[in-house]
Symmetry: C2
């Protein structure tokens, strides 16, 4: 597998575009990704009890396992917008379908931005002709920019992998920059591939890769009202069809997981106001679920996140968060390492190692590793530090 240039238009016969429709005061706010031929499609959605209108519509459009276009706006989430919102999401799909001469059931829609504000469907409809005229391979960058909200940079990647002697490509763009979880800022990810793959295999590979990537930056499956991941597979790579469980399937899954993990880490790295990327690993748990619980409790602790921002090896906050996860373990067996230095050994704090760890915390990447020594399961969660800038962004965003 190798990383190649571009993103969603790197696989064969995909085009993209991003334009300014005027929903946001400044910048691009409307994106389109299309396959030149109808593609297989799969999606993963938020588990929030409140689902934005575009998700309800896209879930319906995905039932047949096919799609040819994805239209996405930023600046307004089309959420808590009632029946009018659902109608608007359908209109958004129809606007693309009408201009492209395809069925509106083959158009997926997504939105991100402010919740509970009337949805500006007229601006979107007015911008669709321009959006379609801008479709190109180079359009992937404007598309990646058009889905951004508070993101500081577009998030994009493409990889090429050999499957049975044929080159298969996978590309993706993503947005998300709130601390995601437990704060539920919206995360969007759109993936394309030219792999020839059966629908069942496409669906299962997407589910698995999301579980180990985007869900690693999300608590308990609780996501925002708009979190969405779509994948389109137009099957043009010429490989023999990938079937579930085969060697080719394994190679495809690894490549897809690389893409989603890369994009998930980029989201954590671009956390609002973040100055540090933090990987929390919990080992020696009785179950994967227990390991995940402890890792997320640490990764979501404001006290741990602020200590990391202050570059202080506050082991007490890490231990206290670990203990608060509702998972039983013995304090006398607890090991904690920060950036490779074991600072808690069998429940005893090596206080003299603090200066050494303090130096390592000056780096932009921090690793927190906790070993509960009560089982064999482990989990990883990615997050970032919590700074004054996060508060500024989220308290005074008007």
């Amino acid at each position: 597998m190798k990383i190649i240039k571009g993103s969603v238009t790197a696989p064969q016969d995909f085009l993209a575009a991003g334009v300014k429709s005027g929903i946001k005061k400044n910048g691009l706010d409307l994106a389109l990704i299309i396959s030149k031929i109808p593609a297989l499609a799969a999606g993963v959605f938020t588990k929030n009890a409140i689902k934005a209108a575009p998700m309800v519509i896209s879930e319906r459009h995905l039932k047949n396992g096919k799609a040819q276009a994805i239209i996405v706006n930023s600046g307004n989430a089309n959420c808590l917008t009632g029946k009018k919102g659902l109608d608007d999401a359908v209109e958004m799909a129809k606007a693309v379908a009408g201009a492209m001469w395809i069925s509106s059931y083959n158009v997926l829609v997504a939105s991100t931005g402010i919740i509970g504000k009337p949805f500006p469907i007229d601006k979107i409809k007015a911008a669709v002709p321009d959006l379609i005229s801008q479709l190109s391979e180079a359009g992937e960058l404007p598309a990646a920019k058009a889905i951004m909200t508070t993101d500081l940079s577009p998030k994009r990647i493409a990889v090429a992998v050999d499957i049975g002697g044929q080159t298969v490509k996978i590309g993706g763009i993503a947005k998300g920059s709130g601390m995601i979880s437990p704060n539920m800022a919206t995360m969007l990810c759109f993936l394309t591939t030219d792999a020839d793959i059966e629908l069942r295999a496409l669906r299962s590979s997407l589910r698995d890769s999301v579980a180990d990537s985007f869900n690693a930056i999300t608590v308990d499956g609780d996501m925002s009202t708009n979190d969405t991941v779509f994948i389109l597979a137009n099957c043009l790579a010429g490989n023999s069809r990938i079937e579930y469980g085969t060697k080719g399937y394994k190679i495809f899954c690894e490549a897809l997981s690389y893409v989603t993990a890369y994009l998930a880490k980029e989201i954590a790295r671009d956390g609002e106001g973040a100055t540090k990327f933090i990987e929390v690993e919990v080992k020696g748990a009785r179950s994967k679920n227990d390991a995940g619980k402890v890792a997320r409790e640490i990764a979501n602790s404001n006290l741990v996140k602020t200590a990391m921002a202050g570059e202080d090896p506050n082991i007490g906050r890490i231990a206290s968060a670990a203990g608060a996860a509702g998972v039983k373990f013995k304090e006398s067996k607890l090991d904690i390492s920060i950036s490779g230095v074991k600072i808690v050994n069998s429940g005893n704090v090596a206080y003299q190692k603090r200066p050494k760890v303090k130096k390592l915390l000056k780096k932009g990447e921090i690793g927190i590793s906790v070993d509960l020594h009560s089982g064999k399961e482990s989990a990883k969660v990615w997050t970032c530090d919590l700074t004054e800038r996060y508060i500024k962004i989220n308290a005074r965003y008007n």
Copy 2:
């Protein structure tokens, strides 16, 4: 019931003191509360998997249901300190017991401060004689100050209530100023009463009053490594003994709940960097547990807390947090009010009411009320807003 002057020394024959032992660089850091005669005693402790040494020792000392003294230090939590920490906690009790000629089993100990730092038992032992010599009724204020960490003000209250023609008094002091939960800054509360009450009734009244007060500022029973509530009842009020389930018991419980709720709200109000006190009420839930889950998800959302700091009625963040709690409800039935103004009605946002709500958010007290319309249960949670000052306090505390 009426509010009276003072706190833990308002009930008959209690004394208190607070001195500077040198654990903290500045200020009082060692407190003592005693009853002149042995008292009945009960306690409630953290459910964190990691328990600080003083809690382990105090739990042991509480088994006989009696105590005469409570010694508390701030500046060091005596947590993650291994066997030495347990020995030190015993030494702390013994230092008081020896000077007062009582059994060390009748001394309760508590600590709050930095975790994982060697415990300065020698400083405490050296300060105990001075501490005991300072005991007085007026000592309740220095005691309330000595248990503070990042608190801006001491938290104290006393009430008098008539039980069967006799005046019974209850007093209390508390500390806690982190956002408490899910961030697990330590909460301590020490209560005294001169009520004549049976041990079973004392224990159950304490448990119930904590559930509706301190646990309303805490997530899922997950508390810090040091969270502790103690009550001493010296039975000197002359009332006929309060038995569980009687009318007198009900009156006592109401008074005790008033005291604990007052202190819990004071803690939320004094949240680190807080500028607003926020009460989150969730109604119409299928169970009390569901109501509590939704209320805590809202109260702990950094996005909701920062919006309140910015005085913006960001209804989307409140709705999104409600939906993320893992509790099922119908979006089409959801009502949300902010400070008495219904801004979401059956899932529809009354966008035109935003300016009115924006004005109300300028006040120091904010009410968020959510009605799920799916059952009859409700829950209240108290919290505060999240400001840049919180980050400053918690990132650069060295």
